[in-house]
Amino acid sequence: MKERYFSTFQLILMALFAALIVVAKITLRLPIQMSGHSGVFWMAIIIVAAGVVPKPGAASVVGLTSGVIAAFLGMGNFGAINTLLSYTMVGVGADLALLLLRKPENLVVAALAGTFGHMSKFLVKWALGVLAGAPVGLVALGLAWTLVGYIIFGALGGLLGGLTLAALRRAGFFAYLAEKR
């Protein structure tokens, strides 16, 4: 019988990470008035997911699943398609970065993968706005500041994810997972 790309155990883990993203998005509130600050926990979860299920596409599956859940819950301010695409692209962006950079436990790699994932979300939101004919911003630097916010918080989230992976390895979590597989 042909072996499946993701085992049932890995699919369950990815579904749990996807649900965790949605729950974190709903419940966690950081007192920071800067665009993209939710990337701190968002990208941390994505990077941990990519480390715990170390196969290309794992982050994308987590992103897509969280996007489907979020869209059905009516999250986001710009409709279901915008929500689905932006959540999915967070995972796809992180996956593409990890294809190039590999090991998410390396803190530089984790920060960069987090930045790419979060910036992908920004790109989707911005591109959909441009396609919908959104007007040019009143404040010329408004978009640049938003972009900087997304990059900083994406990198911080990635870093947090990388640190979490390192802590999980020290705690013997990966040895435990290997037994479960």
Binding site: L101, P135, V136, G137, V139, A140, G142, L143, T146, L147
Partner: protein
């Protein structure tokens, strides 16, 4: 390819993406110059203000320095909404006696196809916090504590026109 080269390639791609976004946005700004109408000259990004279908002014980023920033926490998600009061914006460009109590103020968004119609009494009541807040894209959204404008699907996002209609 060594890890160092991979990281450098990733950083170059990241910078290129940032440059592309900001470049395209700058190009959009250049390619959409608003034509000068009458004595009012609008710059890209400015929000035209019409009174009885006549263009009377444009709300520009230069005006922001003259306006006080206000904020409130929205009831729907508990997020801080920060911006500039609509009455302050209007009074910056016209005399107060032009704005009679039963004047209608319509703020609309051509891209979203949404608009909100309020009276001057509602707009000018500071307790209602009718304000233009900044979006992530640097555009403006009309938000308020008023019941007709306090939820996200009621907001006028990417507002690009303000109209005043005399009774």
């Amino acid at each position: 390819m060594s890890q160092r080269v991979r990281v450098l390639v990733a950083i170059v791609i990241l910078v290129a993406l940032m440059g592309a976004v900001l470049g395209i946005e700058a190009l959009r700004r250049l390619m959409n110059p608003a034509p000068p109408l009458a004595e009012v000259t609008l710059s890209p990004g400015d929000i035209p203000i019409y009174r009885d279908e006549q263009l009377v002014a444009g709300f520009s980023s230069a005006d922001l320095d003259q306006l006080a920033t206000v904020s409130f926490v929205d009831a729907e998600k508990g997020k801080l909404q920060q911006g500039w009061l609509l009455p302050d914006v209007l009074l910056l460009h016209m005399e107060a006696d032009v704005l009679m109590p039963d004047c209608s103020i319509v703020v609309s968004s051509s891209s979203e196809g949404t608009s909100a119609k309020l009276t001057w009494v509602e707009v000018n009541n500071e307790a209602n916090m009718v304000m233009l807040a900044l979006t992530n894209r640097g555009t403006l959204k009309l938000v308020s504590l008023l019941e007709v404008l306090d939820m996200r699907d009621e907001w006028v996002v990417d507002a690009d026109k303000i109209e005043i209609f005399s009774p």
